[in-house]
Amino acid sequence: MTPRITLATAGRVLAQLRHDRRTLGLLLFVPAALLTLLWWMYEGGPTFDAIGPALLALFPFIGMFLVTSVATLRERTSGTLERLLAMPTGKLDFLLGYALAFGLMATLQALIAAGVAVGLLGLDVAGPTSLLIVVAILDALLGVALGLFVSAFAATEFQVVQFMPALVLPQVLLCGLLVARDELPALLSAISDVLPLSYAVDAMREVQVSIDPSIGGYALIIAAFAVGFLALGAGTLRRRTA
């Protein structure tokens, strides 16, 4: 790994986004818009307070998963990845470059979404707002890592987009947003215990109900999943291909 190459890669991904204003706008403002819609639906009542933080966990995960998986698939199919790997680029340079760039986008996205939810819509959380943002950024990195890994199993953009309902939606259904995880049938409850998004939503819930939330354990689990997916992703980046 070479810091010069990692940073250049992150800068290049951000430069690509700068040329794509529409994607940039969608990435930054759609989560805040959806939270506003939710606030309107529940007229800002206690239900909004109850599910708002969980959605702050979901949006960056889903959004970054989609963007990263498509972007990496493009690198694989356009030959740019092969060119980079024929140069002195290390696999980690490539992976961390993407993680850095999209991590930065996720930070901006989370600042806007949490700022709108707490500042404008009056989302009521017991813990500090800054922790909502920290968890949102971790979720975004989790999405980036999963997207990088999954892109290896798709040959086309049609396929890679289908991984969203296949791999992400089950996590959304089982994460405790619709049915509390301990009230799920035993097998499903056990499955939800090994899905990363469950811990993201648990962490958000902790911030929501506790004045002095301790999310260290959750954060560690989410980070471990992200590192695990990145490692698996690194395994799919082959310098030599058939």
Binding site: A8, S78, L84, A242
Partner: protein
């Protein structure tokens, strides 16, 4: 795909690689760059294993389809790859000069024509003054003036000590190479100088020599 294949190329030479589609030209080039999985055999570049870390920044590689980022400008593409290679910013301007792309340097690659896009991709391969250049169809889709200019560039590079391996479909270009390799079905059919090839086949130009050898090999 390549079977019983032996080849060595001297430094500072320009070697042309010809052959029908599917004859293994790209596979051979990928093996030399070190991005091709190899079942058996050895490939050495500059005395080191192909694709090994120390040779990676000394070999420039142009893939057949342009591998540049469409949502960046030509200059942004070059700056990024220059940063990856660790070469100075003046390398970007030199590469733009070499492929005559200064006028399009700040256009998005996605908006360029096919020939311009492949020149942008070629510029990336030229970054950092590589000692070895492996170019897969660098002149495809270019007009005659640009093709001539690029072949002049390739000859100049060879004269300055760069080793070039260039594949092509255009036979009149073959005569600009010091040595010609003709491939068919993963095997080497001919390995001659352009003049030697014409003499051996008793033909007037490279295209006829090429067809003669291919027909002969196919038993026609």
């Amino acid at each position: 795909m390549l079977d019983d294949f032996n080849l060595s190329v001297d430094r500072g030479t320009l070697t042309g690689l010809l052959g029908p589609s599917g004859s293994g030209k790209s596979t051979l080039m990928r093996a030399i760059v070190g991005v091709q999985q190899i079942a058996a055999g050895q490939v050495e570049v500059l005395g080191l294993p192909a694709g090994s870390e120390p040779v990676r920044s000394r070999v420039g590689y142009l893939t057949q389809s342009p591998s540049v980022y469409g949502d960046l400008t030509t200059r942004q593409n070059l700056r990024y790859f220059a940063a990856v290679l660790g070469t100075g910013p003046d390398a970007v301007d030199r590469a733009l000069d070499q492929v005559d792309m200064h006028s399009h340097a700040d256009d998005l690659v996605a908006k360029l024509s096919g020939g311009e896009t492949s020149r942008a991709s070629l510029a990336v391969a030229l970054l950092g003054e590589p000692e070895v250049l492996v170019l897969d169809e660098p002149t495809v889709g270019l007009d005659p003036v640009l093709r001539r200019d690029l072949w002049n560039l390739f000859n100049d590079l060879a004269a300055s000590g760069v080793t070039l391996l260039v594949s092509s479909h255009v036979m009149d270009e073959a005569e600009r190479c010091g040595r010609l390799l003709l491939m068919r079905e993963g095997a080497l059919l001919a390995d001659e100088s352009p003049a030697g090839l014409l003499a051996q086949t008793d033909t007037a130009d490279a295209e006829q020599a090429f067809l003669h050898l291919i027909d002969e090999a196919a038993g026609r």
